[in-house]
Symmetry: C2
Subunit: 137 residues, 2 copies
DNA sequence: CTCTCAATAGACATCGATGTCTTTTGACGT
DNA sequence: ACGTCAAAAGACATCGATGTCTATTGAGAG
């Protein structure tokens, strides 16, 4: 898998929130069923999204989770960052401490191109790109 | 990290082999030092590359590892496949059993574009793209 | 105020990826 | 044939990601 499980769960959950009518919230239980994520684990993931300010939560009656911004304004990069799955630009794939264009490791050219690609993908994709029509009621 | 540790180790080791003079082999110990991969773990990774036919090994005196083909003919995709880190095109990020363009999940458009990008990267990069000059003697 | 609902918090469990060690096998030099 | 070198094999250990459970906290309804 390209991205780790937690990050994928975050994308799933956020996609499900984005598919909701604007302003509507959803309970963790219901969200878990729709996204096939284990309920208790999902609540942990959601917590990270809440802390990152991407999602709001309300306890008690009529509570649940909702996006804190319109889908178009939530990038995948933010979701990945909230789950520590974002690419780390400075990190050297060859095990060297630092690795920049001036003092590149053997893998630098190929590796940095991958990093940039994934980075560009994550910043260009937003929750507006999820296919809400693809969801069952 | 975008790719898992084992896959990165495989890229490192293969890059180090590619930087060798053609036909030359190298012992596991030496390879481990150059790539900063734990020796014993490296031997496991190398075993996978040998089984995949990407690397040859010789035991005993003067033994070691060497590429079984010219660097230009070894793609990153093969290295990833040998370490089970290649993207799985059919796999649905949304947790659905199957997920194709005809019956897409909400994440399908964004996810498949990532898969394709990484796939294209891995097939276009070869060991000829590693920067041999960047290596210390 | 009290009851119920639902998120929060955090302890605990599990599992696979990662890492270490020891023994075995094969190849070469003498 | 023997000894040494080095990969192969596989048992074992560790650790972090993942998953489960229980208790607590906060919010609304009555």
């Amino acid at each position: 898998m390209i991205l780790n499980q937690t990050a994928v769960y975050a994308l799933r959950a956020a996609a499900a929130l984005a598919a909701l009518p604007p302003g509507m919230s959803i309970r963790a239980q219901e969200l878990a069923e729709r996204t096939h994520v284990p309920v208790h684990y999902l609540s942990k993931v959601m917590r990270r999204l809440v802390l990152a300010g991407l999602v709001t939560s309300r306890k008690g009656h009529g509570g649940g989770f909702a996006l804190s911004r319109p889908p178009k304004q939530v990038t995948f990069a933010e979701l990945l960052a909230a789950t520590d799955a974002a690419p780390e630009p400075g990190k050297c794939a060859y095990g060297w401490g630092s690795c920049d264009p001036d003092d590149p490791c053997p893998l630098h050219p190929t590796w940095s191109s991958l990093q940039e690609m994934v980075g560009a993908w994550s910043t260009s994709c937003t929750l507006d790109d999820v296919d809400a029509d693809a969801l069952p009621p």
